[in-house]
Subunit: 199 residues, 2 copies
């Protein structure tokens, strides 16, 4: 792989923004170049395999940003429930600020081409896996057994994804905040109940 | 509105299938006509406003099918938890049978164009609202207070949506089954806890 350059990074960031707002099929490589500000030649230089390769890198890039946000929140909050509620607050604010145009940076691409493109699906699995890992570590930190923490981490990723879709359609951040609050209820074993019963 | 005809219905059903598999932007009206088997003239006759109008109708159509499935399951199961787990079993089976190509019939379109097209977003709100209503009635039937039932119904829709995305990327039905099981835990107030505490 080429050494990362500012043009390469600009192309990936531009593609990520466009895919998030309008999807994969509606975004042409010319749009990506125009938004990135990079010379067109750099697109062919860094991405000889074309749009599919750019999308793979864009999914990995956006996935790393989301995972990094989650890790930062995990370090700032004592419990997984606190972390997911803080994340929901951020997401709802970002969605509102974008007029509910932005959403999950990778879902649209994955739904459009994840079934056809194994390399894009694999990038999605890596990204979602990284999110799950942050939730799982936070949940284990709360004292949940690993198997239960792994299951809940997957459900946390799913509910936040789905809530972003709901928020976009409803033009409201409420579905995100409610999803996080309910996930937080699942995270906390009911008082007095043996944690082992949750495995 | 024109009286429904078999060509109109065939075009909507074909559009719904294609949008689910490959999204809105990648699906041309010629593809829709070809899959529908309807004469091309009928597309212009019934959908003079073009692809956006077809997509609006396709979202409403697919939404009605999903809501009908949910209502059938609600009538067959005594609890909301039983209903959502049965629904998850159906979805996981359908996803597997399609090689994880099918998924939610409306999410991809809504993510691609729901921000730009108010009529498509409105169709999505109607569809999701119909799903929520079925969950809410089932939850109220379980004895949950209306406000709590409404909140959980929204979260149920979100988590199943998100789980379908996870399942498509993971090429596995497990995320759907786990999401339903966890939603079922939320649906059932912990034994001995006053339901009012959940409002």
């Amino acid at each position: 792989m080429s050494r990362p350059s500012k043009h390469r990074a600009a192309i990936i960031a531009a593609a990520s923004r466009l895919f998030r707002r309008q999807g994969y099929a509606a975004t042409g490589v010319n749009d990506i170049v125009a938004v990135s500000g990079a010379p067109k030649g750099s697109l062919y230089h860094y991405f000889p395999e074309g749009k599919e390769q750019i999308a793979e890198e864009a999914v990995l890039y956006a996935g790393r940003l989301v995972a990094e946000t989650l890790r930062t929140l995990a370090s700032q909050h004592n419990t997984a429930g606190g972390m997911i509620c803080a994340y929901a607050g951020l997401l709802a604010g970002w969605m509102e600020a974008s007029g509910f145009r932005d959403g999950c940076p990778i879902t649209t691409v994955l739904l459009e081409v994840g079934a056809e493109s194994e390399r894009i699906a694999a990038a999605g699995r890596l990204a979602f896996g990284a999110y799950r890992e942050v939730y799982q570590m936070a949940l284990e930190g709360d004292g949940l057994p690993p198997e239960r923490a792994a299951c809940l981490a997957g459900v946390a990723v799913a509910v936040m994804q789905g809530a972003l879709v709901q928020a976009r359609v409803a033009r409201s951040g409420t579905p995100i905040l409610e999803a996080a609050r309910e996930a937080g209820r699942l995270f906390a074993p009911p008082a007095g109940q043996d944690k082992e019963a949750f495995i």
